[in-house]
């Protein structure tokens, strides 16, 4: 039995061993497998952890030389390897994304620079890029260069301060916060350089002029990097100038930013005094209520307190009396100075204007005072040019229908009645004229008009006889009107049939039925015949008709029933029958020439003549002894002309006088004409009816009908009564060059020297106004009735420009020190042409003959420091060999000249230019102030003072306000009840209300070194001398806001 027990143990052991081995094998394998798996897991975890541990950032990115230069910093604990760069162009989306393998290792804490320099990519600093850098472990960092364009950033713009005084600076701050949703860093953040000129746009709104002047910025120019959540700040500094309420709006955006992503800020100019913002602006009007703006520097005739006793220039009303001062600019080069003051004065950029009131001299210097008889410059285009010598008898009118002076029958013998049946003629006993029946007696009425001044052959435009009703009649009455066909109707006689036997005109006019005559003495349309021009025409057409002859008109029956009639008054100075005739010299209406405002030789007004029937004539027949008569020598006539075409077969008259005899041709005449077929200039006159022996002619050698301008000076010289009756002819071209001179053509042998030119004189036609019409332009007609111009005078006259360049001046605007020593030239304006304006005989003090000449000057922005002056100078430009300057006068400081005499207008100064005011100590000191607004104001006693700061001693003086707008002229500071109740200002009473746009006059107590309202208890009175005066205005406005205004009146003279 022991044997079997041992065996079972063995078996069991074997089985145990087997089982154990099996299990161990499994376990071992499993553990190995598990370990292996765990190892892999741990490896993976390590990779993940390492990936998470990786930290790096792009700290800088620039684009120098069109290559990226990126700096990356390893901010983690593990080394990294920058594997790739991804670059996309945000400005040009079509660009796509580019990938570049770089493989740059970066140790922990270290930086890698110059990344991107070696990649094949050209970058533009003006474009925006998104750059992504990826590591080997798959991490990435993304930045934006120059690119806030993906979404709007938070921008703010501030003006600090927002409300500033003029000439102060404000700081503009732009804050940029990176609030991009993708948390990207922004690199190279900068204000948009296309905004304005300094990466910020500025828009000003000015009441007059204002400015925002860049001082600095943007600072910094850019931010290299802006992380998410960070804020960048850019700064500008601007100086603001302007008037209260002027604004400057600043707008900024980012370079490559979204277009709508902008920020704005507004800076406003205000007057801030004593740290309080006042609602109203009070400006100085100085010691007088000058209505001039601070920018108007009037020229004054006073010369005290100016360098070298030159003229004053300041913003003060004219005070030089009713005539001011006339300055002869051709002999005097005036200089005008502002006063030197204690303030710095800035004027912004803009146009200045020199506004001069000037008067042209009518004649060149050599001819001044030589009493020209007539001048016609044709500048104003009137159809009836007036003689510039202000004598209406020498005016012109356009040719055209003449209206004969009505001729009234005044003599009994010039009207009569003839009985048809018996022929009896009654000239004197009948007290009326019955047409055609006197009761039942049929009769013919004869009317003889004396001195009918209608030229032979003239065209009758209209003719009427005006009767006056002698009785009231209504019966149907029709009569026939005819004329006597005679060259010169004889006087009526009482011979039977004297009236009816006369030859009748063929032409006849029926009048009737004549309207009823309802009132005795009526001389109206009912009593006026129809137009009988055909009758008159037939008479004047007669070869023997001569202007001034007698004309008979008859009135007989044309079917009137017996007993019917119209009864007219007989000869009388007031109610006698009156003949009215309108006529023209020939067929056609004729008329004045055509005016052109720039048609003259020097771009001035001139008249164009059509060569058909245009002409001018004197309004009256020229009377002997009249200045436009010719009479005896000497005479000179000058004019400019230009032909429109070559002269044809008919001579063309430029000017012509006619007189005794029959013109044209057989009369005394005086003319300047263009020869037929040649266009040569003829100057010809006859002293005896055109007889050859009495005719003298100067004729040019050259022809002048070529369409160019020429001046003709025709001279009839020789002493009166002398026998050397000579003519001279000077012709000059437009450039002042002598074209020709024909001199000394002696009158052959006639001792009669008088050209009896007692008709009208003409421009552009012959003296009969029926031919020789000129075709072209005529200008600047001048006639001397008693002077013969010599060659020198003629030459000077020919070089005068009566148009746009009659005078020339040089203007200088300089800055000087207080003594007038030159500091800086601001403007030099040379050879400024001044146009001619006809003075029309005006005298030196005739303001109406002065005209305004404005010249714009552009000195740019000007700064006058204390004790500097502005100096404006005017220099004369002398004549040249081809141009003769006319003298020019300028009027200054004329109180009566409207709107103003001469002045210089600047741009709006920052402070008023100092004045030259004078204060007389014997008067109460008063200062005018003007409430600019926007609110009405009161002035108070406490701080309103006038301060005088001595320029020489160390003592200053002041005065206390006493009243405002007092009218108590006995003493504006009187405390009497007459003044006290209304105007006084003291510690218990403020001033009256001063509305907007009103001037207030502030009166002060005596000026003392210890100011007091009682001179007896005050200090020493201010001595005479020079002081810098400042007025301090203390007050408050309607809104309850206080103000303290100081008004600098500049240098003031105090005199005893």
């Amino acid at each position: 039995m022991r044997g079997r027990k041992g065996l079972s143990s063995v078996v069991g052991t074997v089985f145990s061993i087997i089982a154990l081995v099996t299990v161990v094998t499994y376990v071992t394998y499993s553990m190995n497998t598990l370990q292996q798996f765990n190892q892999e897991v741990m490896t993976k975890n390590t990779e993940i952890i390492d990936q998470a541990k990786e930290e790096f950032s792009v700290v800088k990115a620039t684009i120098p030389n069109n290559k990226f230069n990126i700096t990356v910093q390893n901010t983690g604990e593990l080394p990294i390897n920058i594997a790739r760069i991804w670059i996309s162009n945000k400005t040009d989306p079509s660009w796509g994304t580019a990938k570049y393998d770089v493989n740059i290792p970066v140790s922990p804490g270290k930086v890698a620079t110059n990344i991107g320099q070696n990649i094949a990519l050209t970058a533009l600093s003006t474009q925006a890029y998104e750059i992504k850098m990826t590591t080997e472990r798959g991490n990435e960092d993304e930045v934006l260069i120059n690119s806030p364009s993906q979404e709007p950033l938070y921008l703010q713009l501030h003006a600090l301060p927002e409300a500033i005084s003029t000439e102060f600076t404000t700081t503009i701050l732009l804050t940029v916060t990176n609030n991009m949703s993708n948390n990207n860093m922004l690199l190279n953040v900068a204000p948009d350089p296309t905004d304005g000129t300094d990466s910020i746009s500025v828009t000003t709104v000015c009441a007059t002029t204002c400015s925002a002047t860049w001082k600095s910025g943007p600072t910094p120019a850019s931010y290299p990097s802006l992380k998410y959540g960070d804020t960048a700040t850019f700064k500008w500094i601007y100086e603001i100038q302007g008037s209260p309420d002027d604004t400057a709006t600043f707008t900024a955006s980012l370079e490559n930013g979204i277009a709508s992503n902008t920020a704005s800020a507004v800076a406003t100019v205000t007057d801030v005094i004593s740290a309080l913002e006042a609602g109203s602006a009070i400006t100085s009007k100085g010691l007088t209520a000058s209505t001039l703006g601070d920018d108007v520097l009037l020229f004054h005739l006073e010369t005290d307190r100016t360098p070298s006793a030159r003229y004053q220039m300041y913003s003060g009303s004219a005070d030089g009396g009713s005539n001011g001062l006339k300055i002869d600019l051709d002999t005097t080069n005036p200089r005008f100075f502002t006063n030197n003051g204690t303030d710095t004065i800035d004027t912004p950029t803009g146009n200045w204007v020199a506004s001069l009131k000037v008067q042209s001299e009518a004649m060149p210097p050599i001819l001044v005072g030589d009493s020209e008889s007539m001048i016609f410059h044709f500048d104003d285009g009137g159809a009836n040019p007036d003689n510039s010598q202000a004598s209406s008898t020498r005016d012109l009118e356009g040719c055209g229908p003449y209206t004969m002076t009505p001729i009234r029958i005044t003599a009994d013998a010039d009207d009569g009645e003839e009985v048809v049946s018996t022929g009896a003629v009654d000239l004197t006993s009948s007290g009326d004229l019955e047409m055609p029946y006197d009761g039942s007696t049929l009769q013919i009425v004869g009317l003889r008009f004396t001195g009918v001044t209608v030229p032979q052959g003239a065209t009758i435009q209209s003719a009427f006889i005006q009767f006056s009703a002698d009785e009231v009649q209504q019966g149907t009455t029709t009569v026939r009107i005819r004329g006597q066909a005679a060259d010169n109707a004889a006087a009526f006689t009482t011979t039977a049939f004297d009236i009816s036997a006369r030859a009748d005109t063929t032409a006849a006019v029926t009048w009737g039925p004549i309207p009823g005559w309802d009132q005795i003495g009526e001389q109206g349309p009912d009593q006026k015949t129809p137009d009988i021009k055909t009758v008159i025409q037939e008479i004047v057409n007669r070869a023997g008709w001569v202007s001034g002859n007698y004309m008979v008109i008859t009135v007989d029956n044309s079917g009137t029933a017996s007993g019917n009639r119209r009864t007219a008054d007989i000869a009388s100075t007031t109610v006698g029958p009156q003949l009215q005739i309108t006529w023209t010299p020939q067929a056609g209406s004729g008329g004045p020439p055509t005016w052109s405002s720039t048609g003259g030789p020097h771009v001035s007004g001139a008249f164009s003549f059509d060569g058909v029937n245009d002409c001018f004539r004197s309004v009256n027949n020229v009377a002997s002894g009249d200045a436009n008569h010719i009479d005896v020598e000497p005479d000179t006539t000058a004019l400019w002309f230009k032909t429109a075409a070559a002269v044809g077969a008919t001579e063309q008259h430029l000017v012509s006088w006619g007189g005794d005899g029959t013109c044209p041709g057989s009369c005394d005449y005086y003319k300047i004409a263009l020869e037929a077929n040649t266009g040569k200039v003829i100057f010809s006159y006859s002293t005896s009816l055109g007889v050859a022996a009495s005719t003298n002619t100067c004729k040019s050698i050259n022809e002048y009908d070529n369409g160019n301008w020429y001046q003709v000076v025709a001279v009839r010289e020789g002493p009166p009564g002398g026998d050397n009756n000579e003519c001279n002819l000077y012709i000059t071209d437009i450039n002042g060059n002598d074209a020709e001179a024909v001199v000394n053509q002696n009158l052959p042998g006639d001792s009669t020297y008088n050209v009896d030119s007692n008709g009208r004189w003409y421009i552009g036609s012959n003296e009969a106004e029926n031919g020789n019409f000129f075709n072209g332009y005529i200008d600047d007609v001048i006639h001397w009735n008693s002077k013969a111009l010599d060659a020198t005078e003629s030459d000077q006259l020919s070089k005068v420009n009566y148009g746009t360049q009659a005078h020339k001046l040089n203007f200088y605007l300089d800055k000087t020190d207080k003594n007038g020593v030159f500091v800086q030239n601001l403007v030099t304006d040379l050879n400024v042409a001044i146009p001619f304006k006809d003075p029309r005989g005006g005298t030196d003090n005739d303001d109406s003959t002065y005209y305004v000449f404005n010249r714009t000057l552009t000195p740019g922005a000007v700064t006058l420091t204390p004790n500097q002056r502005l100096n404006f100078s005017i220099n004369w430009v002398d004549s040249t060999s081809t141009w003769q300057a006319l003298q020019l006068d300028m009027k200054i400081d004329d109180q009566d000249m409207t709107p103003l005499p001469s002045f210089l207008q600047t741009t709006k100064p920052s402070v008023p230019f100092p004045s030259y005011f004078v204060y007389d100590k014997s008067n109460r000191l008063s200062v005018y102030v003007y409430n600019v607004g926007p609110y009405g104001s009161w002035f108070v006693y406490q701080g309103t003072r006038a301060v005088f700061d001595s320029s020489t001693s160390g003592t200053s003086y002041a005065a206390i306000i006493c009243s405002v707008n007092s009218t108590y002229s006995t003493d504006f500071c009187s405390t009497s009840t007459s003044n006290n109740g209304a105007w006084m200002v003291n510690e218990h009473r403020d001033s009256i209300f001063v509305p907007v746009n009103k001037i207030a006059r502030i009166f002060f107590w005596s000026i003392q070194d210890r100011p007091d309202n009682d001179q007896a208890t005050g200090g020493t009175l201010i001595p005479a001398g020079e002081y810098d005066m400042t007025v301090f205005i203390d007050g408050y406005d309607e809104k309850g806001q206080k103000f303290l205004r100081n008004l600098s009146l500049g240098r003031v003279r105090v005199q005893d």
Partner: protein, 152 residues
């Protein structure tokens, strides 16, 4: 009878029995060991394979490095992936979903092998809309799915 010598007959049966039992144990033991070994071996292969698969799966790692929205018609999305793992992988599919209208564009890429440290780019036609994000799913042969989301 006699008793003869019974002690000698009892010794032989013990030996035979012992031999028989040892033989049986040996045979059984061998058989068991053989069976367990073969069983273990067979399972070991499976386990090894499974281990390798899982380990490889763990080793796979993709980073979708860049997504670019191409606005040139027809619109597409350019996707660049980076194999940052330590084992090569095969991309089998890319799926894009804008999660708004259910529009899904799926491209099957078979056996697109990407070695470790290498990148692979795809241009997928897709009508993307501005400011509407898209999800991108990249599936590997080993059934790893890597996702990202981006917005044009």
């Amino acid at each position: 009878m006699g008793w003869c010598n019974n002690r000698s007959r009892r010794g032989l049966s013990t030996v035979v029995t012992g031999v028989i039992m040892l033989s049986a144990v040996a045979v059984l033991g061998t058989a068991i060991v053989a069976w367990s070994n073969s069983n273990l071996f067979a399972n070991q292969q499976v386990l090894n394979t499974q281990l390798a698969t899982n380990v490889n799966k763990i080793k796979e790692s993709i980073v979708i490095e860049n997504v670019w929205f191409n606005q040139t018609a027809p619109k597409s999305i350019n996707i660049t992936l980076n194999n940052v793992g330590t084992i090569g992988l095969n991309v089998t599919s890319i799926k894009i979903d804008n999660e708004t209208d259910g529009d899904v564009d799926q491209t099957n890429q078979t056996n697109d092998a990407v070695l470790p440290g290498k990148t692979k780019s795809y241009a997928i036609k897709f009508d993307w809309q501005t400011n509407i994000p898209v999800k991108i799913f990249i599936t590997t042969l080993r059934d790893n799915i890597f996702t990202t989301e981006d917005s044009p």
